[in-house]
Symmetry: D2
Subunit: 142 residues, 4 copies
């Protein structure tokens, strides 16, 4: 079954770039983050800011992330980004992000996130929780 | 004569916000910067990344900026931003930015920028230059 | 009476700088913010993260800010920053920040902040509150 | 042979943190970047801003990076960060970053970077180059 793909197009801004004239690496992790929020919005029909309350979670904390930088993205470049869940596990999942410029893959990103609730034993902590099947079902491309 | 207005709509991202749940102040100065670049693109029909080369300038360095924070903008809020030149002087100009959320003015920004060329006496420095009248003429709303 | 001065020294990082090789303007507003938090720590002997709870406030929300950019700061430059309250009013105050590189003033910043508590009539809102005299007294240089 | 370790201590700022009150993930990649620059300064005795010119390179472009987020870092937390080269290859190398808060490992980062020169065939491109043995020799802890 194909996985739902979230597509976002945006333009590289002056403030994203470093003295080499290329996007500074940390910015890509901002792009990945937003890619995941909007993927969940697309799949679940819930605004990112309402996600936690709607599903009784504290959020989707990131436990692992990574990126491969294949080609530079520069000021004014139009980026096509796709984001999709590559794997759902019991209480965690992986999201893959691909950013292309002029049809060429520039950056590949990867995030592992957890479906997390407040720990009933300690409200200052989070605790992984099984992802409801009605959630994962929504990430299958129609 | 009315001044050309650049309009941009965007959504407040998780990473824009601080522990108070509101946009961290420095982010607004990123928004202002991009508002100015795209205002110049709208007025002059030149991509931001081609502006310097097209007009033989080194850029539009910022010499003064400011903001009034009137109402908070929060995660998921849709921001309507307008940017326009409020005054052109011989070699500098002021840009006004207004950001509204749900029809209510949230932030007012102000930038003073210089039309700058490389200093012929010292290539490591910049020098203000009169703004060509054919440039300023393009900022009048049709 | 002279005003207490908070001094901070730091080095401009690669990721602070834009394609012109100079600090991107929004970064200075991050520096100002931290300058104010650490000025309050110096004056009141309270860690920034404990300030709100110690004084029963929700924070020191920023209502106005501005900067003059006089000389560029570049990658590797060592910045000397001073921060001090220039005026206390009933429930708001102004902070002045000066950043120098190699003894030359590079940037002047200005923030207006409010001593704010949670609005008893609406917990989602903040409300200005008179600044306690025992707080303002601590900002006089000994 | 043990690898030279660069140690840096810094405090988590308000502007580093997101609405969950924890450091927003992209900030850690800023910290890693600076950790690598200052590790090279420690090893080679050359200021980061002079590194490219001193060694005839265009920089140390990042080709791969990643992080494991083990425990949160919050506003006001004092972070102890270590950075060291875990492996030198012919023209690339890996840097490991470990960030601890109150003695507990909070984040592990990993960067793969290239020793890159301007491509003689195309000045707009970069090209990997063998890392000089006198460079790698300096990363052995004394």
């Amino acid at each position: 079954m194909a996985s739902l793909i979230n597509r976002r197009q945006f333009t590289i801004e002056w403030g994203h770039c470093d003295p080499a004239g290329m996007v500074f690496n940390s910015r890509f992790f901002e792009f990945f983050d937003w890619g995941t929020w909007t993927l969940f919005e697309l799949a679940l029909g819930v605004k990112p800011s309402a996600l936690a309350e709607t599903f009784g979670i504290v959020g989707l904390p990131l436990v692992d992330s990574g990126a491969r930088f294949i080609a530079p993205a520069r000021f004014g470049d139009v980026v096509e980004m796709t984001s999709q869940v590559s794997e759902f596990r019991r209480s965690s999942f992986d999201v893959e992000h691909k950013l292309s410029v002029r049809g060429v893959l520039a950056v590949e990103g990867r995030e592992t996130r957890v479906w997390a609730v407040r720990d009933p034993a300690d409200a200052s902590k989070m605790k992984a929780q099984p992802i409801p099947p009605e959630v994962t079902a929504r990430f299958v491309a129609q």
